[in-house]
């Protein structure tokens, strides 16, 4: 099949959804396609830091200034995705005074509020900081949920008439007479929401302009169009802890290095990270030393991390870029600035623009720049409004408390639901009948899961990123089956079962990097619950196995009952008493 659109955006991360929203709000006809879930790429694999800019205040002041500016914007337009935790740059005895001073001055030069704290003052904020720290700088770092932010951008795009297609990888870029005119996508399970078992289809989408916002994957799209986009993907590990050992972002105050940040994120703390160039954004080694280094380095700042429980680890790939012939060898030295590549100017290929480099905190600003560029190309005469108009869910939080009472949600469930849903809580939680908690670790109720299913279809990983269900200590051991049950009866049992198996396997992929101590015990419990109690590993339905039911125990002769007659004369169902 074929269709046409004004602007086709490739990539469902923060940049892509940000561009789609921006252009849709300017009145453009926008279609966004994403190969996996929203946030499937780098956006879904970051530590969730809302930069104050402090990290770049010495090395890259341009980036630092952009960060603090956007930090303020996001607090306004995405309040339900942001938690203003504050951040500390902590100096250990072996870290130099010279760098500490540079950091402080750098922050001030970039208009980043910065305050020096004595070790006592720092430990008053974060009691678990090491006893021997020298001092700290306090900055307005925060935590941000990239999943909800992208989903909110996508929802806003749709609210402004745009079309968003996930699980729709681009298989070709259509070039006619030396101009990009659209793309070919493969809908894995048809158009619209994902649905397990539904047949795929191919669609050619013609567009006036194509935006390649695929980050670390930008080179692949470039190749399909016949142009070189030299992204230098760099991997970094993030280690997820079982609870918030700190409530403030804790950075090490040193020039650069692996394992120098702890970000409190929702119910967890995330340790990061490494910076290693890789050849392929999808196929790269995930190694034990990376996990070990996070714990061994960061315990110097927060000693209890050594004994704390790790629940999983994940890796992300930064879409670093530098103009040809810059020749930086160490990926940590490559600029975090973003680059707009107009392929008409650059490669004599009109019809397509790529965006590479950059970072999550400034996604909106990047999107604005790209959208200005595309608007100019297409003659759209409208201003960017994304810095002023709140994202869906982030308005009028004050009216929420009453609503939560009305839905009978107990604290802390109520508080958690409210934080996640923002001002959508009212419409989402207004259901008939009981609304039990499905995910105990994260406090997610059935109504929230149902709402996510209405957006995401049978893709429980997409439900997960919207709700955080299955992201806590048990890693889906207790809740993944109940999450899948919500799909039924809208979807058949077999489809719900496939969705459940897919989620449980996805959780396992990250959990294997935390398999010692408590989490190995948890893994064995999860295995026992699923294999012993549910027999999910040898289930005849899953294995399509025929079982000779008649060959097995058909019950004790005196235990079996002639089908009880209706009425009072029926007999006991089990031969009588069992010790009571």
């Amino acid at each position: 099949m074929e269709s046409s659109t004004g602007v086709l955006v490739i990539g469902g991360g923060s940049t892509g959804t940000g561009i789609a929203r921006d252009l849709a709000m300017r009145g453009a006809d926008v279609t966004l396609v994403e190969q996996g879930n929203l946030t499937h790429g780098t956006t879904g694999r970051m530590h969730g830091l809302l930069h104050s800019g402090g990290r770049y205040a010495v090395s890259d002041q341009e980036s630092a200034k952009e960060c603090i500016q956007e930090n303020r914007v996001l607090r306004d337009i995405a309040s339900h995705c942001v938690e203003m935790t504050g951040g500390l740059f902590v100096q250990r005895p072996e870290d130099t005074d010279e760098y500490f001073q540079k950091k402080l001055e750098g922050c001030r030069e970039c208009d980043i509020p910065a305050e020096v704290l004595s070790p006592e003052e720092a430990r008053e904020i974060e009691p678990y900081l090491a006893k021997d720290i020298k001092r700290a700088i306090k900055v307005p770092d925060g935590a941000i949920d990239p999943f909800r932010l992208c989903v909110a951008n996508a929802v806003s795009t749709e609210n402004h008439g745009g079309r968003v297609e996930t699980h729709a990888p681009v298989t070709d870029v259509l070039v006619e007479d030396g101009e990009v005119v659209g793309v070919k996508v493969e809908h894995e399970t048809g158009q619209g929401k994902r649905e397990h078992g539904k047949a795929g289809e191919t669609e050619k989408i013609y567009a006036d302009h194509v935006v390649n916002a695929t980050g670390a994957w930008a080179g692949r799209i470039g190749e399909m169009a016949g142009v070189d986009v030299e992204v230098r993907p760099s991997k970094g590990v993030m280690v997820v802890m079982n609870c918030r050992q700190v409530d403030t972002v804790v950075n090490r105050c040193q020039p650069k290095g692996d394992a120098d940040i702890v970000v409190p994120h929702e119910t967890t703390a995330i340790l990061g990270t490494t910076d290693e160039e890789v050849d392929d954004p999808e196929e790269y080694p995930e190694e034990q030393w990376e996990v070990d280094r996070m714990i061994d380095e960061l315990k110097q700042l927060v000693p209890i991390l050594d004994e704390a429980r790790t629940i999983r680890s994940f890796w992300g790939v930064r879409p670093l870029y530098e103009p040809p012939d810059t020749g930086t060898s160490d990926p940590t030295d490559i600029t975090r600035q973003f680059f707009l590549l107009d392929h008409d100017d650059r490669d004599d290929l009109p019809g397509m623009t790529s965006i590479v480099g950059g970072k999550f905190t400034t996604y909106r600003m990047m999107a604005e720049t790209i959208s200005d560029h595309v608007s100019e190309r297409l003659g759209i005469d409208a201003e960017c409004r994304t810095a002023d108009v709140p994202l869906p869910g982030s308005k009028d939080e004050t009216v929420l408390d009453d609503a939560m009472d009305r839905f009978g949600l107990r604290s802390p469930i109520a508080r958690r639901s409210k934080q996640r849903l923002g001002n959508r809580a009212d419409e989402v939680l207004d259901v008939d009948g009981p609304n039990p908690v499905i995910c105990q670790c994260e406090g997610v109720t059935r109504a929230e899961i149902k709402d996510a299913v209405s957006q995401a279809g049978t893709d429980l990983n997409a439900v997960r990123i919207r709700t955080r269900a299955s992201m806590g200590n048990c890693q889906g051991g207790f809740c993944s089956r109940a999450m899948a049950d919500v799909l039924h009866p809208e979807y058949e049992e077999e489809i719900a079962r496939e969705a459940y198996d897919e989620l449980f396997q996805e959780r396992w992929k990250g959990e294997v990097h935390a398999l010692w101590g408590e989490q190995l015990s948890q893994a064995m419990l999860n295995y026992a619950l699923h294999a012993t109690t549910l027999n999910a590993d040898s289930d005849p339905a899953r294995l399509d196995q025929e079982v000779d039911f008649g060959a097995f125990d058909g019950g004790h002769p005196t235990d079996t009952v002639e089908g009880a007659e209706a009425g009072d004369s029926a007999v006991a169902t089990d031969g009588g008493h069992d010790g009571d």
């Binding site: 034990q288 009981p434 039990p436 908690v437 499905i438 207790f478 089956r481 109940a482 049950d485 039924h488 049992e493 077999e494 396997q505 396992w508 992929k509 294997v512 398999l515 010692w516 101590g517 190995l520 015990s521 893994a523 064995m524 419990l525 026992a528 294999a531 012993t532 109690t533 549910l534 027999n535 590993d537 040898s538 289930d539 005849p540 339905a541 079982v547 039911f549 097995f552 125990d553 058909g554 019950g555 002769p557 235990d559 079996t560 009952v561 089908g563 009880a564 007659e565 009425g567 009072d568 029926a570 006991a572 169902t573 089990d574 031969g575 009588g576 008493h577 069992d578 010790g579 009571d580």
Partner: protein, 425 residues
């Protein structure tokens, strides 16, 4: 002064209980010392012996046949098939009328709360009329406030396993307006007390009110399955009354934690220990071991910070596997925390697991290796201590979730270890 007994059992689960009974039956004075709640309350209450071979063949019809074929080092191979039968006989005595399945060597197939079927050797009376291997059109009833059992999903799943009968599931509101997220014990106690519930402005006893809601759905169905919440103290009475009122036999579908059938079994077995005169101390971890010339001389318990020594002739270690923390680990390796017995494991922790969630994981077989007298062996295959035996999921060399062999191994090795220890004092 130490607390002195003939046999000291360290642990509180199925294997520890079996060991205590085994030693007691040999005339020994026995004490059982446990630390935390056992993992029995997390288990479904079914007593599996062997449902699948280590190669994954199954469901096995006759577990005793399959046991003869197990490889060297498997706990069943260590004790032999007669010990498995002896352990089960002990269980049948201890569980009494609450359990059935001993009329045949064959496994039964029982529906799980997800709707799959699983092979098991002994099952609670409460599950008896629900066997998938017994036939009879089945209605599942779930409660819309309870996420552990989605009756329509389970019914459709059960049908997909190919059972030769009709299945249907219906979700109802539990009468009387229990809070969302009420614990399973709340439902059970309401039904135990048969308390009056207010339904449409009228007070109705709980069992009657529940039956009224189910009755119209029963139709031609030959049996009715509920989630396992039908009473803690009076389950048989409740099933009988519900069956009478709905007009068909009533059964429970075993569930995961917190599992009422698991709790009932734990209560029943501790009652049995009490009846036969085994001494039980709970809440006290063993924190130190005093060896003497290749033997365990004394062990030291922690009673709220006070050290209390225990002394016995023979010791049995039944503290559980990875779940019960009888086996523990850190980033460097895997260990047994009480007696520091040798636990073989790959040096690289990335060799402990496989990529597929149900693949053949090395960690699933972590545990202590033992000789045929169930004595833990050191790295040189020599007994760690002359008078220490191990039983249950602390043993290595088998993958109980995949084999569905957890309860059977606990009973067989526990009882065998207890008997041997009891004979020697």
């Amino acid at each position: 002064m130490a607390i002195e007994d003939d046999v000291l059992v360290v642990g509180g689960g199925l294997a520890a209980i079996a060991a205590a009974v085994g030693a007691h039956e040999q005339g020994a004075r026995v004490r059982l010392v446990s630390h935390k709640q056992s993992t029995m309350r997390q288990a479904s209450g079914l007593i599996d012996i062997l449902g699948y071979t280590p190669d994954g063949d199954g469901p096995v019809v006759d577990p005793f046949d399959a046991i003869e074929e197990l490889p060297e080092g498997h706990p069943y191979e260590r004790v032999g098939v007669d010990a498995v039968r002896a352990g089960l006989d002990m269980f049948d005595d201890a569980a009494g009328d609450a359990y059935t399945g001993g009329h045949t060597d064959k496994n039964a197939l029982v529906p799980t709360h997800g709707g799959a079927i699983k092979p098991t050797a002994r099952y609670p009376q409460s599950a008896a009329s629900g066997l998938a291997s017994a036939g009879g059109d089945t209605l599942f009833v779930g409660f819309d406030s309870m996420i552990e059992f989605d009756a329509p999903v389970a019914a459709d799943h059960l049908a997909a396993t190919g059972v030769p009968y009709e299945t249907e599931g219906v979700t109802i509101e539990f009468p009387g307006g229990l809070r969302d997220d009420a614990k399973v014990t709340r439902y059970a106690h309401l039904l135990d007390r048969n308390a009056d519930l207010t339904v449409d402005g009228t007070d109705v006893p709980a069992r009657t009110a529940l039956a009224e809601r189910v009755k119209d759905h029963v139709g031609e169905h030959e049996r009715v399955g509920f989630p396992a919440v039908l009473g803690d103290d009076h389950p048989a009475d409740i099933r009988e009354e519900l069956a009478n009122r709905v007009g068909a036999p009533v059964f429970e579908v075993p569930m995961g934690p917190p599992s009422l059938p698991g709790l009932r079994l734990e209560d029943r077995l501790y009652e049995y220990l009490h009846e036969i005169g085994v001494r039980v101390s709970t809440g006290n971890p063993i924190v130190d071991v005093e060896p003497d010339d290749g033997r365990v001389d004394r062990v030291v318990g922690d009673h709220s910070g006070r050290e209390v020594p225990y002394k016995a002739e023979e010791y049995i270690l039944a503290t559980g596997g990875l779940v019960g923390k009888g086996i523990d680990s850190d980033r460097e390796g895997v260990y047994e925390p009480v007696f520091d017995c040798h636990v073989p494991h790959p040096a690289d922790r990335y060799d402990w697991f496989e990529d597929g969630v149900f693949d053949d994981h090395e960690f699933a077989r972590f545990g202590v290796p033992v000789d045929t007298g169930l004595r833990p062996l050191d790295a040189n295959d020599e007994p760690e201590f002359e008078n220490l035996r191990a039983a249950g999921s602390i043993l290595g060399g088998y993958d109980f979730p995949s084999e569905k062999s957890g309860s059977g191994v606990s009973l067989a090795t526990g009882y065998a270890a207890g008997e041997t220890a009891g004979e020697r004092v």
